[in-house]
Amino acid sequence: MSEQTTEFAFNELLEKTPRKDFIEMPKKNALRSVLTQQLHQLKIWSQRRSDRTYSLITFALLLLVWTVISSLKLVPELFLPSPAAVLRKFIAVADEGFVDATLLAHTCTSVARVLMALLLATATAVPVGIFIGLNRYARATIDPLIDFYRPIPPLAYLPLIVIWFGIGETSKIILIFLAVFAPISIATVQGVLRVDQSRIRATLSLGANRWQLIRYVIIPSATPDILTGVRIGLGVGWSTLVAAELIAATRGLGFMIQSAAQFLVTDVVVMGIIVIALIAFFFESGLRRLQKALVPWEGKI
């Protein structure tokens, strides 16, 4: 009877545990290996948890220093509002709005701009990058153009874009688009050039034509690099947002911060900065998760 229950428990344990060993072994050994694996998994989890704890401690310390400084009134409220004041402002702006729009409206407008530009940039930069990566002449023609405009700060060519495209939504999206395009296309070119030569040769000797090679081997091989490019592009996009919303905007987080700065409403400025940081962090971790899901073999092969 007891033999049966242990057997049952063992089988249950075996089923619950992902199998990592492919060597057939006697059950006693298997049980030991299952236990070792679970211990190992536990170690990884606790390690991950402790990493996260340290990150949280950093932020908690930062918040503490901030609270202490503002409650001791070491710095005037005008320069550094207290965390409580910022939180109150957050609720107030979320509720009643600031400069004719609620926080949600500002946020949605900004997110839409960044996403729109990111989408356009990805849709164009990835094909262009693949083309440059595959064709020497295209590389010689287009690469210098990208290298030329990439280091110019968006604020420097902003006036030119306003002269060309006016002060509407188009100019804002074009400005963010230009900033995002470069990192994505550069990362894509890198990804295409890095595709393993023997992978390409193996595919050709299996009878692939050029299109099949691009579709089945080059694009999937470059995907990790492309996703890294999109991640960098997203960061650049958010940093260009405030510049883009300098152009006669009536809505948006960048616009909100600038309006607040003009009236010296420091708590709204700080609150806006934190909201942008949180949203950017949220997108970044989403993309990182996507990358992990799409490229589970990264570093294992």
């Binding site: 193996a202 050709l204 000797s205 009878g207």
Partner: protein, 263 residues
């Protein structure tokens, strides 16, 4: 039958006195018969891999002609399967999908692909791992997936570029026996490159010794050890037999002399 006629290949190399051409292969005449197992051995830099690349169609020879069944080789194609030292598999595909990849490229239906890939997974002893991602199986298994993938498109010849070079000694010995079994069952013509004299002697029906600078054929030996294994003799008894040991010493001696000539 693959025929190489006075193949020569030159690579440009930059040096201080301007661009120079290095002759990597020179005057290579070689015939790969159907169902033969040709092994190429030679010191590093003697052009072994270049020779395989010429046959695979990855490189164009500067002089001479390569043909398969009388038709000139102009580029890579499904009639010559290639297995690489680094397995060159696609990590986003499962074991089964990797094996069926060539059939997918040829536009075969899913049912046909599944049936064919299962057949070759069985031949290489991998059917239990069909749905594993390839980054979860061992190096020796990955090489067998590469082998099954190359076989699945039913090529005329199989070109193996040091396929066992990255494996540990034990796995390597097992893979040699496995290669001979696959060779016997599939009946394909094989061409393999290796650094190991023992491996070369054990597998080859035709052993080609290359000399370097420029790469040229020193000798071609007809051997029977692989056939003996295919007919049932054990690998250990073959490898410890007197003829095998003597020949091994002889070939090693030849390889070492060429080294001395070089320095």
């Amino acid at each position: 039958m693959i025929r190489l006629e006075s193949i020569g290949i030159c690579f440009p190399e930059k040096s201080q006195s301007g661009n120079q051409f290095i002759e990597v292969l020179s005057g290579i005449n070689l015939v790969l018969q159907d169902a033969s197992f040709t092994v190429i051995i030679g010191e590093s830099g003697c052009g072994k891999t270049t020779l395989l690349n010429v046959i695979a169609g990855f490189e164009k020879p500067t002089n001479g002609q390569v043909s398969i069944d009388g038709k000139p080789i102009l580029g890579p194609g499904a009639d010559r399967g290639v297995v690489f030292q680094d397995d060159a598999l696609l990590p986003w595909q499962s074991v089964k999908e990797n094996v069926a990849f060539g059939l997918q490229l040829a536009g075969k239906s899913k049912t046909e692909r599944d049936a064919k890939s299962l057949e070759y997974l069985r031949l290489t002893g991998l059917e239990a791992f069909a749905d594993y991602p390839i980054w979860k199986i061992s190096g020796g298994m990955r090489q067998r997936v590469g082998l099954a993938r190359a076989l699945a498109v039913d090529p005329r010849f199989l070109l193996l570029d040091e396929p066992l070079g990255a494996l540990d000694a034990l796995t390597r010995a097992r893979m040699q026996e496995h290669l001979l079994q696959v060779w016997k069952i599939s009946g394909k013509g094989m061409l393999m490159i290796t650094h190991s004299v023992e491996e070369a002697l054990f597998l080859a029906t035709d052993l080609v010794l290359l000399r370097a600078r420029p790469g040229r054929i020193e000798s071609i030996r007809k051997l029977e050890f692989g056939r003996r294994f295919a007919e049932g003799e054990s690998a250990r008894s073959i490898k410890s037999s007197r003829e095998f040991v003597e020949l091994r010493e002889q070939v090693l001696q030849e390889l070492l002399t060429s080294d001395e000539v070089m320095t």
